[in-house]
């Protein structure tokens, strides 16, 4: 089959790779209909994640059609149109049974690598290196889906592909940021990042009853989207002192909940020098720092962005001085996707506008370049194998 493979820093190539096979009784094989780029791919694309190997297939946010199921699969059959959670989880361990599937004990092919990186094994993901699961990615004609009854969800007929696609990753990530950030009716919520996840965090906050939602970014087209589709107020941080603006808009208190939906290396900060890359000097999480300073006393900062390891200059003193709760997670998609699909079916949650560029798989490298550079108003490139 054809697949978009990483072949070196900032270099992708469509190659012929073996078709996926059923390897476990709970597996399914899905023919991919849509597969989206994601900010979490950018450190991989740039070659900043050492585990990635030449020939690895990227992509984790996808939707498709079941073409094969293992003997233990009960909830799906050939022909089902499914959206697949970007994270791989077993559904049966202590963490899965407590609605924390991203912490799954059995979702990774290389738990030892994750232990080295994070201290414990965590749930896997498609299109990520070994420490993150080691499963082939979705920028391909077919994908093997482990634990298919747990991670694949039949899409209601009323929901089109371009809407349902984002139930795989961006929508559950955004919903989780608002939900686990503890958004309550009447809250003021600030969201750093107006990409797909940031916009869907803002929408989730609104649906959870937030009275005001303020989105911070520097791209006018994305900010307009956040206003139009999420009903948010916006701040363009190129022209505005964000902490001062947030204090003014919140009566001096600061937002009740601050959600970082930017990720490392995506916030316009200076790119790391060659020397930094050799010495492994850590990134500075600009948006998280700002969120910690801006958040009201006793409020919550939720970190959604994918950070590849360590960060420098984290304002820990402000966390304790202001009594903040700082929380983060990779998205617990299995927990939210059925509800999100219902909201998509009812029209409450619309996501098609995020798919700004739809391209054939062969133009995957171009799709990533558009997405990485925020060129031509790109929010998400969606690849069609």
């Amino acid at each position: 089959m054809r697949a978009l493979c990483w072949v070196g820093a900032d270099t992708l190539e469509v190659r012929q790779v073996p078709d996926p096979e059923l390897r476990n009784g709970h597996d399914a094989v899905v023919r991919v209909r849509r597969s989206a780029t994601c900010g979490g791919d950018l450190p991989l694309l740039a070659g900043r994640v050492p585990d990635l190997s030449v020939g690895d297939v990227l992509g984790h946010e996808f939707l498709g059609e079941v073409v094969e199921v293992g003997p233990e699969v009960r909830g799906h059959r050939v022909g089902d149109r499914v959206v697949v959670c970007a994270g791989v989880a077993c559904g049966a361990c202590w963490y899965c049974r407590r609605d924390l599937p991203a912490c799954c004990d059995n979702g990774s092919l290389d738990p030892e690598a994750a232990e080295t990186a994070w201290g414990h094994p965590v749930g896997g993901s498609f299109g990520r290196p070994r420490a993150s699961g080691g499963f082939a990615g979705s920028h391909a004609e077919y994908v093997r889906v482990p634990y298919a009854d747990v991670g694949a969800f039949t899409v209601p007929e009323a929901v089109g592909d371009d809407r349902a696609l984002f139930a795989s990753d961006a929508a559950p990530a955004g919903w989780m940021g608002a939900d686990l950030g503890g958004v309550r009716p009447g809250d003021v919520v600030a969201v750093w990042g107006a990409g797909a996840v940031g916009q869907l965090t803002a929408r989730a906050a609104t649906l959870l009853g937030a009275e005001r939602v303020i989105v911070v970014d520097r791209y006018p087209d994305r900010l307009r989207m956040a206003e139009r589709h999420a009903g948010a107020e916006t701040i363009d941080y190129r022209h505005v002192d964000v902490p001062a603006e947030l204090r003014e808009r919140t009566g001096g208190r600061g937002p009740d909940v601050c959600v970082e939906a930017v990720g490392v290396g995506c916030d316009g900060g200076s790119p790391r020098s060659l020397a930094d890359r050799f010495t492994g000097r850590a990134e500075r999480p600009t948006a998280v720092r700002e969120a910690v300073h801006a958040c009201r006393k006793g409020g919550t900062v939720f970190v959604l962005g994918e950070f590849t390891g360590f960060v420098d200059a984290f304002p820990l003193g402000a966390v304790t001085a202001k009594g903040l709760t700082v929380r983060g997670a990779r998205q617990h998609g299995q927990r939210y996707i059925p509800m999100l699909l219902e909201r998509m079916a009812s029209g409450e949650l619309r996501t098609e506008h995020l798919a700004t560029h739809e391209l054939p798989l062969e133009q995957g490298a171009r799709g990533y370049a558009l997405f990485r550079d925020r060129a031509d108003g790109c929010v998400r490139s969606v690849l069609v194998p």
Partner: protein
Amino acid sequence: MGRIARMAGGTVASAVDALAARARRAGRGTTGNDPGGGRWQVVTVDRTPDEVRPDGRWPEPLRRLGDAVQVRVRPAPGCRGTELAARPRPGRVPPGLAAHLVGDDPGAPVRAALRQAKQLAETGEVLRADRPAMDRAGPPG
């Protein structure tokens, strides 16, 4: 890991059971370190001890390590299931080629066996990687 385990071979459930009983008696209130055999590797299985040891036997991934390991089990606090622990038996690291393959870390196959035992108990199977292209029939990709 499967190759290593098969090479280690043998089923010595009764000896392991006896060791486990001794460990249960001796292990109450002790730390993870024991001068007799090094640190225990432990996983918590979200199942009852009976489910972890169906028919009173250790799960297959641990049985495959034979008498090269000591194994113990005890209920986890807070209804979190069962703590399943194992460690290489002193002087009996996995023998022969297996020992060569695992190099200086005889705990590696023990950790892998524990994880596999946990996956079997919780999900019914051990997650398998995709087969490398070179292992497949047909034209190369």
